[in-house]
């Protein structure tokens, strides 16, 4: 054995083995898993259902629409304004109904004047008839004169009724025109805050339900979370289970949730990736939770990770 | 398991005989290639003698030597070496026997060229399980005895033919074998060197209980023989002793 120690080849071979073993060690070392850069959202419950939620106003937002396709002439509010029920929001072009009101007003005045004339005439003819009737009894006037007076009165009375009806008609038309004009002023249907204003003076407002409403009115004093649970996990959810929400991208911002209701209808999920195109992916069960305003700001439309404690034991899980 | 090969516990006339081979028949090959090398050869050598086997080429003397040295199987006949019968011995037993009791000297010396002299000489001791240190000391002693002191670490190729054959003799004797088999030990050497070698071998043969058998056709060495066995055509023709031996030695000079 020892005579090998005198050989260069022996040491070269040993060096070769050592070098290759070193390379094996060097190559088997990979950089450590750097882990997540910020702490991920973790569930406070051992058995839970995870969901994605969206913060919304506690009463559903009102998407203000135009009653009529018309030009917007005036916008009374701006984004963020608080409004009371009945406050004007924006004005549609109302020149045409106003003109009609003016013309109707004029013809009403004229017709009312005519009504006065007609009433006068009836009174005059009735008086004449009374006198002629007395004269005829005294045989001072002929029966022919009496009859003529009678017919004259009847004709005048008929004219009076017609004119009166004409006045009523014009009044009704006037009322209609006024209503029409008032509808063109769009008012807040309830108290709230304007979350979006997508209309500006001089724009044309179509009379249709739009993807982006003209204005979005919501109640931001009390917010709620609409959590979406995959339909396959729907069986794991029950009312009144504790739940917690974490702001997306910031797992330290936690909010305890109170159960409000489960929406009874399972709806197609809207992708919340921020893409404008809607991609129907799966159907989801929506659950509404309310929460108290936490110390940090929460805005309507913000995404949250929701963890809901499971109702049943794990054994109830959906085994495929 | 080892065969008791020590001649001292044999008795009677057999103890005088180092080798007793009777009616040896050896056939090589089969069919047309069949040649009978030994045709019932009888051969015996005594202890303490230097015994020459001579004869023309192809007479079967090397085959006979191979048989009595235990290196070749034979077909018929009986072989006894120092009272131990080699008949029917297993191959491994014969190997053991050779290792202990036989020393070999070859015409071409057959020293291992990559080993130095000490290592070459110590091979038989190492084969017998002697520790290296002891074996090398003994080898050094033998090297001195053959007159090559100071050349311990030389390689065989650095020596002359005569020196190499001396190393071979040292190797053959180092484990103190009772039988030394020599195959043409002087054929490759000049006569001066040949005589020196034969002197060494004669000395070796005088050791008690030893027998040196030399196969040769070199007439220069006949004068060293105690007895000569003459062979021809696979048979032993004559065993020369005393006066006939002297006559034979003179006749060949």
């Amino acid at each position: 054995m020892f005579i090998l120690f005198k050989r260069v080849s022996f040491y070269v071979a040993i060096a070769g083995v050592v070098a290759s073993l070193y390379l094996v060690c060097a190559q088997s070392q990979k950089p450590k898993d750097p882990g997540p850069l910020s702490a991920p959202a973790r569930s406070p419950y051992s058995d839970m259902v995870a969901a994605t939620g969206l913060v919304e106003a506690s009463r559903e937002n009102v998407r203000i629409a135009s009653p009529k396709a018309a030009l917007v002439t005036k916008v009374f509010v701006k984004v963020g304004d608080s409004v009371k029920a009945g406050d004007s929001l924006f004005q549609l072009d109302d020149r045409e109904p106003l003109a009609r009101i003016a013309s109707l007003q004029a013809s009403l005045t004229a017709t009312e004047a005519q009504l006065g004339i007609d009433e006068n005439q009836v009174a005059d003819l009735a008086d004449q008839l009374k006198r002629i009737a007395r004269l005829e009894k005294d045989k001072v006037a002929t029966e022919d004169e009496l009859r003529r007076r009678e017919f004259g009165l009847k004709g005048a009375e008929a004219r009076l009724i017609s004119t009166r009806a004409q006045v009523e008609t014009i009044r009704a038309q006037l009322q209609e025109a006024k209503v029409e004009a008032s509808v063109l002023t769009v008012r807040a249907p309830r108290d709230g805050k304007l979350l979006q204003v997508n209309v500006r003076e001089g724009e044309f407002a179509p009379a249709a339900a739009l993807t982006d409403p003209l204005m979005l009115l919501g109640d931001v004093d009390r917010l709620q979370v609409r959590a979406e649970v995959d339909e396959q996990n729907a069986v794991l959810v029950a009312p009144n289970q504790p739940a917690e929400a974490t702001l997306k991208g910031n797992s330290r911002m936690k909010m305890p949730l109170r159960f409000v209701r489960i929406e009874p209808y399972v709806v197609p999920k809207r992708s919340l990736t921020g893409d404008s195109l809607e991609r129907v992916d799966t159907r989801v069960l929506q659950i509404i939770y309310e929460f108290d305003q936490p110390k940090f700001p929460v805005y309507v439309g913000q995404q949250v990770d929701v963890f809901i404690q499971r109702a049943g034991p794990i054994a109830d899980s959906t085994k495929p | 398991m080892k065969t008791e090969t020590n001649g001292s516990n044999s008795n009677g006339a057999a103890s005088e005989l180092a080798i007793d081979a009777r009616s040896i028949v050896k056939v090589f090959g089969l069919g047309d290639a069949r040649t009978v090398a030994l045709k019932g050869a009888n051969f015996s050598a005594r202890q303490g003698e230097l015994h020459l086997v001579v004869g023309p080429s192809g007479c079967g003397k090397t085959t006979l030597l191979s048989v009595v040295a235990g290196t070749l199987n034979w077909d018929e006949g009986k072989v006894q070496v120092f009272g131990t019968s080699l008949d029917g011995m297993k191959r491994s037993e014969i190997t053991d026997f050779r290792r202990r009791n036989v020393g070999f000297i070859f015409q071409q010396f057959n020293l291992i060229p990559t080993l130095n002299l000490i290592e070459n000489i110590s091979v038989p001791l190492l084969l017998n399980g002697i520790r290296r240190r002891t074996a090398e000391d003994k080898a050094g002693e033998l090297l001195k005895r053959v007159g090559l002191a100071g050349k311990e670490t030389k390689r065989p190729t650095q020596l002359s033919g005569g020196q190499q054959q001396r190393v071979a003799i040292a190797r053959a004797l180092v484990h103190e074998p009772r039988l030394v088999i020599c195959d043409e030990p002087t054929s490759a050497l000049d006569s001066e060197t040949g005589h020196q070698i034969m002197d060494l071998l004669t000395t070796a043969a005088r050791a008690p209980g030893r027998c040196v058998v030399i196969v040769t056709h070199d007439p220069r060495v006949y004068s060293y023989a105690d007895r000569i066995t003459q062979m021809e055509d696979g048979r032993v023709m004559a065993v020369l002793d005393g006066e006939p031996l002297q006559q034979f030695v003179h006749s060949t000079h």
């Binding site: 054995m1 005579i3 090998l4 050989r7 070269v12 071979a13 060096a15 070769g16 083995v17 290759s20 073993l21 070193y22 390379l23 094996v24 190559q27 898993d33 750097p34 882990g35 997540p36 850069l37 910020s38 702490a39 991920p40 569930s43 058995d47 839970m48 259902v49 995870a50 994605t52 995959d230 396959q232 996990n233 991208g249 990736t273 921020g274 893409d275 129907v280 992916d281 794990i314 899980s317 495929p320 | 191979s66 290196t71 070749l72 491994s92 190997t95 053991d96 202990r100 070999f104 070859f106 071409q108 057959n110 291992i112 990559t114 080993l115 038989p124 190492l126 084969l127 017998n128 195959d183």
Partner: protein
């Protein structure tokens, strides 16, 4: 005697060099080819070293990491809902076209990381550091790997730097960091963005979520959690070793690469057997006279066999050491370049050692058969 056997071997310098040389070449061929093959195969799983996560959840038909069958967005929440999952995040993975400065199109491997956690983020940042990664959360920001910084810089005259822009699918991408990655089998450079940003870059599809990365809760093993995810969601959850194995198996089953490398490795073995066997046999033949003399002097067949065996094993081990040493030298040279793929594993080293020992055993056996049949009397016919 074994010592003398070694001396006999080492003393014959020419034969020794030839024997060791042949075995060195054979060991080099087998080790180097196996290392390149292992490296190439390892490139197919480089995703799992470039994006780090314990559990990879994919569609249940996905067989390997480079294959994507999109999941539904809500599947992330279904995985999160599994009780032993600590957390789970979405990952986008796709090959997209990017436009370099000179207007040429290059394929890139776009990775979309969950913006909140940036789970699966690059392990080594060359430039930009963690701040660069943080800036991935801002629209249109990307982190590119070194390869991308070179490839997408065509026409720029220098590699991309922080602040440079290029286009992915006609959208602007601003470099906020440069990272180091392991090269991928497909050769595409890596570009990292946030998941949401990746969806903006990628062409619209109904389902965009490629994979979900998950971590087990403390006290649960990855295997156990992966199994539970698979059972409860019907998706396929792999741990990293499982996914690596599945991917490598896929490569074996579906590509011709292993066969071609196997051929070379077998060739190395055959060359080894031929050269070493041949040389050793001629070494034995040359020494036959001496071996015969040893036999005559009483060396048993067992001893002679042991001697030949020691000789064969010595040249084998020396040749092995030199062969793997040369492979290591090759490895040290190519490692900084990253081309060709090169991963030398302990299995490779052991495999080569085993092959070399087999070669030497065969060579020794040839010699032993020859010597065993040798009559010791042959030495008298000289």
């Amino acid at each position: 005697m074994l010592r003398l056997a070694l001396k006999m071997l080492l003393g014959d310098r020419a034969k020794y060099i030839m024997l060791v040389g042949g075995l060195t070449f054979s060991a080099l061929l087998m080790t180097q080819q196996r290392a390149v093959f292992t490296g190439l195969v390892s490139w197919t799983t480089s995703h799992m070293r470039n994006m780090r996560a314990s559990i990879w959840v994919v569609e249940h038909r996905v067989e390997q990491v480079n294959e994507t069958k999109a999941l539904r967005d809500t599947d992330v929440n279904r995985v999160r809902s599994v009780s032993t999952v600590d957390y789970a995040v979405p990952l986008f993975q796709g090959v997209l076209k990017a436009r370099a400065a000179d207007g040429s199109d290059k394929q890139i491997q776009l990775i979309g990381l969950h913006a909140g956690t940036l789970k699966g983020r690059p392990t080594v940042m060359v430039e930009g550091g963690e701040e660069g990664l943080e800036r991935l959360r801002i629209a249109n920001n990307v982190v590119v790997d070194v390869l991308a910084s070179k490839r997408l810089a065509a026409g720029l005259g220098r590699p991309l730097q922080i602040g440079d822009t290029f286009e992915i699918n006609d959208r602007e991408a601003r470099v906020v960091g440069i990272c180091k990655t392991e090269p991928h089998f497909f050769g595409y450079p890596y570009v990292f963005s946030s998941y949401d940003q990746a969806l903006q870059y990628a062409p619209r599809q109904r389902k965009m979520l490629s994979m979900i990365l998950a971590e087990p809760k403390e006290g649960h093993s990855a295997e156990e959690v992966a199994q539970q995810i698979s059972n409860e969601t019907g998706l396929r959850a792999y741990t990293v070793p499982e996914f690596e194995k599945a991917t490598v198996d896929w490569v074996w089953k579906n590509t011709g690469i292993p066969v071609s490398f196997l051929t070379t490795i077998i060739l190395g073995f055959v060359v080894g057997v031929a050269v070493a066997g041949q040389t050793f046999y001629s070494f034995v033949l040359e020494n036959l006279k001496h071996l015969g003399a040893l036999k005559a002097m009483g060396a048993s067949n067992g001893l002679i066999s042991a001697m030949l065996f020691v000789q064969a094993m010595t040249v084998g081990l020396i040749g092995y050491g030199m062969g793997v040493g040369l492979t290591a030298v090759f490895g040290f040279i190519v490692r900084p370049i990253g081309q060709p793929p090169f991963v030398i594993s302990i299995e490779t080293l052991v495999g080569t050692l085993f092959s070399i020992l087999v070669i030497c055993t065969l060579a020794a056996l040839f010699g032993i058969l020859k010597v065993a049949r040798l009559e010791p009397a042959v030495v008298f016919r000289g």
